[in-house]
């Protein structure tokens, strides 16, 4: 479904990504693991073209998207959930969702406000409230819901559990599992190994901008060297 080939990204002179390549199959949940600054977020942003890679190709559903603008990529059915929430605090919850609405898409689940409120019940009670007044956990749910309004076939989920209380992280994990059940393909970057262990099928470990390990989540967790060297638990 999504294929990344030879991605290189620089910030100024610093090389952030070096030759990152991987492929994600339809319906898969893949976790990018690695420490802060390893290049997980940059990988997702590079796919979305929010940062411009210096080299490399990205194909999505067989189409080359590495020359498109972010909005065009989104309109092809690839959604993006940023790490720092970035909800529109001047807008109400419903307005936040409406802004991101796109036409129904073949081969992707169709999301309505009601379905999203069912997935995230906390949002329903606050639908006409300003998004500013929400807690961190609710804001995180809103970011995910907002991206789903575009009826994506795949989503890039950047650090969904960061800075959340354990009990909210558990809710987030359930939401990701429901999305997977709906057939949405998910690539997520994560530091919280507990979270990744619960939701991901496959693990890709990045360190210093390079891919160091690819394998099933179960195998990664079972492998003592991987755990000690890269996951640092």
């Amino acid at each position: 479904m999504l294929e990344v080939q030879g991605l290189h990204t620089h910030y100024g002179r610093a090389e952030i990504l070096a030759d990152v390549s991987f492929a994600v199959g339809a319906g898969e949940v893949v976790a990018l693991l690695g420490r802060n600054g390893a290049g997980k977020s940059t990988t997702l942003k590079s796919i979305m073209r929010l940062v411009r890679p210096t080299k490399g190709e990205v194909t999505f559903l067989g189409e080359r998207i590495s020359r498109l603008d972010p909005y065009q990529i989104c309109r092809r059915g690839l959604g993006y959930v940023p790490e720092d929430r970035r909800i529109f605090t001047d807008l109400t919850v419903v307005e936040n969702l409406e802004v991101a609405r796109q036409a129904p898409r073949a081969g992707a689940p169709l999301w309505t406000l009601e379905r999203l409120f069912h997935l995230f019940p906390n949002l329903a009670e606050r639908r006409h409230r300003s998004a500013r007044a929400m807690s961190g956990g609710e804001q995180q749910m809103l970011t995910v819901a907002r991206t789903l309004m575009g009826n994506p076939r795949a989503i890039l989920l950047d650090e969904p559990s960061e800075g959340l209380a354990p009990v909210i992280v558990e809710q987030m994990a359930r939401a990701v599992q429901e999305l997977k059940a709906e057939g949405v393909t998910i690539v997520l970057s994560e530091q919280n190994l507990h979270f990744a262990a619960v939701v991901a099928d496959r693990a890709i470990i990045i360190e210093k901008g390079r891919i160091r390990y690819t394998g099933t989540m179960r195998a990664a967790l079972a492998d003592e060297t991987v755990r000690a060297t890269y996951l640092m638990v």
Binding site: D69, F88, D90, E95, V99, R101
Partner: protein, 618 residues
């Protein structure tokens, strides 16, 4: 009673027109973060175009209103052209570059208006069918004013509906907060920006066109309205449409009634209100904190090192060369170089607070002018010797900077920049209106140096020495604990405060030092020209300083000096042409588009790309 009602309604009619222009600016700023100086030019072009259209179209109400609407739409198209051809290329550059580019457009628009409509003011027709006056409490109110007032409310209502009841409006409001996120949600940002520019420009054009029956169309409309519009937008809160409406009413009524009570200081009154409001509410009446605009550069590439020993040797060599050449130069070049030194010091003074402290001043001409006028007053009116005035004039400028800076450092980003512009306008208004003392429009003449310094070569040396010492002192300060403290406040105010630094106080000190240096430059220019006038404190002069710093490259020490050099030479070369202003404007725009890091920054980037850099910084 009737008289006051009429006065109130006249104020309200002005407010309606002002609101149209201001709402356009506030919408454009809210979404694109561009402080569009050309907005005043759009207002002027709206009036001129409407004038031509109404004259061409058949007489009668239909012709008039069609003319007004077409003029507004035409201005909208001009706005789109500017956005697509210029701004779209430089959204990635530091935001101040966009401001400078729009000021280039101001210059081009001024010449275009001269070319198409000639230098005279134009008097538009009365609005057909609305040229009578209505009796109210025994006084007469023009019908047309009432229509304009009604239109103001209608536009306010329509804009409110647009922004609060449509998806497009929600998108625009979202864009004011995080446009990159929007693009990741499938919104075409380019299209959105262009649409917003169209809407904003149409509103400016409409504001101008509607003035046609109320006042004559002049070539001064652009900069005279832009200062007022900035005040309105800042007062109301940048990005807030209801705020702009409220502020437009306050400002217009203030001048409608202020002129009855304090006719002498009406110009100043508006800026004083702005100062009072911003001190109480730093983000305007209905404004919210905006993401900081006007951060001149990414902080981590700025001013990291003093020049190396080799670098210093280079500077010493340049100064030595400059010391040697007067013998070789013609009188013309002596004068030109003297000006380069003066403007280099002026630019370095602004660079000191911008590069070092992250503070942007849109009104640095105030301190330049205070220095110039201080010198002129002390020399001509008080009869002090030149040596004393050269010492005291910077003190005058520093005192002004201390007063204005006290308020400015309470704000940050655009708000601070706009407040500094307002203060400069206060100085300008005082200079302009207090003609008994300042000579008003004519300025002060015969500001001559002492006999020993009258010789061009001696004066050249005097300026070179003062400028070199001044610039060296500013540089040295930047790398002293004081400069580091400023940088700390710029890089991370929160962290600076949490290690015990009183940022405001240090910024205030920096403002005063910068003002004093600008004052030295101003008094030197007064002596060089033998004259000071109100143009020394006007908006273009403030923008000149900003251009020199940005064109040179704010992230380097030499940038402002090279900027001043480029600037003075360009101005000299171009002033021979009839349409020098537009040529100058076009070059400014080109520099902004082609060298978004300034001359020095772009030069370095080029060297880096060619692989000539010696390894670069760590």
């Amino acid at each position: 009673m009737g008289f006051y009602v009429v006065q109130f309604l006249t104020g309200l009619a002005s407010a309606a027109s002002l609101f149209l222009v201001a709402s356009g600016l506030t919408i454009i700023f809210g979404v694109t973060r561009v402080v569009n100086f050309a907005h005043g030019s759009f207002y002027m072009l709206g009036a001129f175009i409407a004038y031509s259209l109404v004259k061409t179209l058949p007489l009668g109400p239909t012709g008039f209103w069609v003319g007004v609407v077409l003029a507004a739409l035409a201005v909208g198209v001009i706005g789109v052209v500017m956005e697509v051809t210029i701004l779209r290329r430089i959204y990635q550059a530091p935001e101040l570059f966009q401001l400078v580019a729009t000021f280039g457009v101001v210059m081009v628009a001024k010449d275009a208006a001269l070319l198409f409509w000639g230098p005279e003011d134009r008097l538009g027709p009365r609005a057909p069918g609305l040229n009578k006056a209505i009796e109210l409490f025994g006084s007469r109110v023009p019908e047309y004013d009432l229509v304009v007032i009604a239109l103001g409310f209608v536009v306010l209502g329509l804009l409110w509906l647009l922004f609060n009841r449509t998806r497009w409006g929600a998108v625009v409001r979202a864009a004011t907060q995080d446009r990159e996120m929007l693009s990741a949600l499938g919104i075409n940002q380019k299209l959105l920006f262009t649409a917003v520019f169209f809407l904003g420009s149409v509103l400016a054009g409409l504001g101008g066109a509607l003035q046609l029956p109320r006042a004559s169309v002049s070539h001064q409309m652009d900069l005279s309205i832009i200062a007022t519009v900035f005040v309105v937008v800042v007062l109301g809160g940048m990005g807030s449409i209801p705020g702009a409406f409220l502020a437009a009413v306050i400002i217009s009524e203030l001048s409608a009634f202020g002129i009855l009570i304090f006719p002498k200081i009406t110009l100043v009154l508006m800026f004083l209100v702005m100062v009072v409001v911003l001190v109480a509410r730093p983000f305007g009446i209905l404004g919210k904190p905006v993401p900081d605009v006007g951060e001149p550069v990414q902080s981590d590439e700025t001013l990291t090192r003093l020049p190396s020993a080799l670098g210093w040797a280079g500077y010493v060599a340049v100064v030595a060369l400059l010391l040697a050449i007067p013998m070789l130069l013609s009188e013309f070049y002596l004068v030109l170089w003297t000006q380069v030194f003066i403007f280099a010091l002026f630019a370095a003074s602004l660079h000191f607070i911008m590069g070092g402290g992250g503070m942007v001043s849109f009104g640095h001409a105030a301190y330049f002018g205070l220095g110039g006028y201080g010198c002129a007053m002390l020399l001509v009116r008080a009869g002090l010797p030149m040596e004393a005035t050269l010492l005291l004039a910077p003190v005058v400028a520093a005192a002004g900077a201390a007063l204005f800076g006290y308020f400015c450092v309470r704000l940050s980003g655009v708000y601070m920049a706009m407040l500094s512009l307002a203060f400069a306008q206060i100085v300008w208004s005082v200079v302009f209106q207090w003609s008994d003392v300042t000579g008003g429009e004519d300025g002060v003449n015969r500001v001559w140096p002492s006999p020993w310094a009258k010789d061009r070569v001696v004066f050249y040396y005097l300026t070179l020495t003062l400028a070199a010492v001044g610039i060296f002192t500013l540089w040295r300060l930047l790398f002293a604990p004081f400069g580091y403290t400023l940088r700390a406040g710029r890089d991370s105010p929160m962290r600076a405060e949490s290690i015990g630094i009183d940022i405001r106080f240090h910024r205030w000190l920096a403002f005063i030092i910068s003002g004093a240096a600008a004052g030295v430059a101003g008094s030197l220019l007064a002596l060089a020209k033998g004259f000071v006038g109100p143009t020394w404190v006007d908006i273009p002069r403030s923008i000149d300083a900003l251009m020199m710093v940005l064109i040179g490259g704010v992230q380097t020490l030499v940038g402002p000096i090279l900027g001043a050099l480029t600037f003075v030479i360009l101005e000299d070369r171009l002033s021979a042409f009839d349409y020098w202003r537009s040529a100058f404007g076009l070059i400014i725009i080109l520099i902004c588009v082609l060298m978004p890091k300034g001359i020095v920054g772009s030069g370095r980037a080029l060297i880096g790309r060619l692989g000539l850099g010696g390894g670069g910084e760590r």
